[in-house]
């Protein structure tokens, strides 16, 4: 395995772990969405690096799947953000711990 592949595989692992950490310790739902998007980005990075992106001819199948994945991610994020605005409108808070629960 080339050094480039090693670097990006480790980066994918690190960013995924950071995303999980962010998801667990975020207080706002918007931050959780950011963390989930980080996890998604790390997964894409892993797929492409394992698909031979670093060395040899690139594999077009994982590239096409990740391209699809990027569009699905923005769709899901947009829907989640619409839900978030509705939540704020309906309850007056978009935090995970409403102030009166503390």
């Amino acid at each position: 395995m080339s050094a480039t592949a090693t670097i990006y595989l480790l980066t994918a692992a690190a960013v995924f772990g950071i995303g999980v950490y962010g998801l667990l310790q975020a207080r706002q739902i918007l931050r959780q969405l950011l963390a989930i998007n980080l996890m998604g980005g790390a997964t894409f990075l892993l797929l492409i690096t394992l698909g031979g992106g670093a060395d040899g001819p690139p594999d077009p199948v994982p590239q096409a799947m990740v391209l699809t994945g990027i569009v699905i991610a923005v769709s899901a994020t947009a829907f989640a953000l619409a839900l978030l605005v509705k939540l704020q409108d309906a309850t007056g808070s978009s935090d995970l711990d409403p102030p009166d629960a503390e």
């Binding site: 950490y21 667990l24 706002q28 950011l34 992106g53 690139p58 102030p99």
Partner: protein, 312 residues
């Protein structure tokens, strides 16, 4: 050697920006860090021989997602009104420490597994390369998207449409989330800027569409660039939310799905499988329809509106 140093810088940048995203002082700076993360990610795609992904990440991952996040952040602020935000931005140390430790263990485990994975022969990719000449396009990613895995792309359009429909369903009746008008007086330079940037975004979108057959590009990248022009028109108050979608908007929203499904069914009576492409013209026809649908759907998602109209 220089290439390796470049990879190391990109990798360190990605990890640092991811950390800043989850540990940012406030939500706004977290969003900004996430947008920069997307931009650096597109550099990583370029290094990994995936220029199509680099374009998509820059236009969709960083651009449109960033615009959506920022406008939602603003809407949440407007809805919150004068109510001050109560509570700390991050959790206390006795929660952070074990979570951080567990995440570090996860990173170590994932890294170990990823490095010890055996290299798999890329059978599907090799088949795609071999049979690419049959498709009539020379960009393998476009070939896979519209030829070999056309189902994925068709259903992806369904997901995009479903996301917009879902956003419409949950939107409140009095639409508190509607775009606020431009806060400032009309600045003369805004018009000049728009008359320059919006035609260029149209030009780039059409170029990306046309180039997608043989070079990096395609309907998704082009659609996102066109949507960026639309977002700009919304932000500067040239377009405003309408109460409902006009007939043209409704047609354009489903155009991608409809044309794709229609062309996919044409070859069925001739004994070909569903979604078999009758020729290169069909690929470009579908890509054009996809581009229009993607661009309008993304702009409408940004505006959180069923339709748009010119501000008079």
């Amino acid at each position: 050697m220089i290439a390796l140093a470049m990879d190391a810088i990109i990798a360190i940048g990605l990890v640092w920006l991811a950390l800043r995203t989850v540990r940012g002082a406030n939500v706004f700076s977290a969003i900004i860090m996430f947008i920069v993360f997307g931009l650096i990610m597109s550099l990583a795609w370029a290094r990994l021989h995936a220029p199509d992904l680099a374009l998509a990440e820059a236009a969709i991952g960083a651009g449109i997602t960033g615009a959506l996040l920022l406008v939602t952040w603003r809407r949440l602020q407007v809805l919150e009104g004068s109510v001050p935000q109560v509570g700390a931005e991050t959790r206390s140390l006795w929660l952070t420490l074990p979570t951080g430790l567990a995440a570090a263990l996860l990173i170590a485990g994932l890294g170990w597994v990823a490095l010890s994975l055996p290299a798999e022969p890329a059978t599907a990719g090799e088949l795609a390369w071999q049979r690419l000449p049959e498709m009539g396009v020379s960009n393998p990613v476009t070939g896979v998207l519209l030829g070999f895995r056309a189902y994925d792309t068709l259903l992806e359009m369904g997901v995009l449409l479903a996301a917009w429909l879902g956003a419409q369903v949950v939107a409140s009746e009095h639409r508190p989330g509607a775009l606020p008008g431009p806060a400032h007086e009309e600045v003369p330079l805004v018009g000049a800027l728009l008359s320059l940037v919006v035609p260029i975004s149209l030009l780039v979108a059409v170029y990306l569409l046309q180039a997608g057959g043989s070079a990096p590009g395609g309907a998704f990248q082009g659609g996102a660039v066109l949507a960026a022009g639309g977002v700009l028109l919304c932000l500067t108050g040239r377009l405003e939310a309408a109460d409902q979608a006009s007939l043209i908007e409704r047609v354009v929203l489903i155009l991608g799905l409809a044309v794709f499904s229609g062309v996919g069914l044409v070859m069925l009576p001739l004994g070909e499988p569903m979604l078999a492409m009758p020729g290169v013209w069909a690929i470009y026809l579908i890509e054009t329809a996809l581009l229009l649908s993607i661009a309008l759907t993304l702009v409408l998602l940004f505006a959180a509106a069923p339709g748009l109209r010119r501000r008079l």
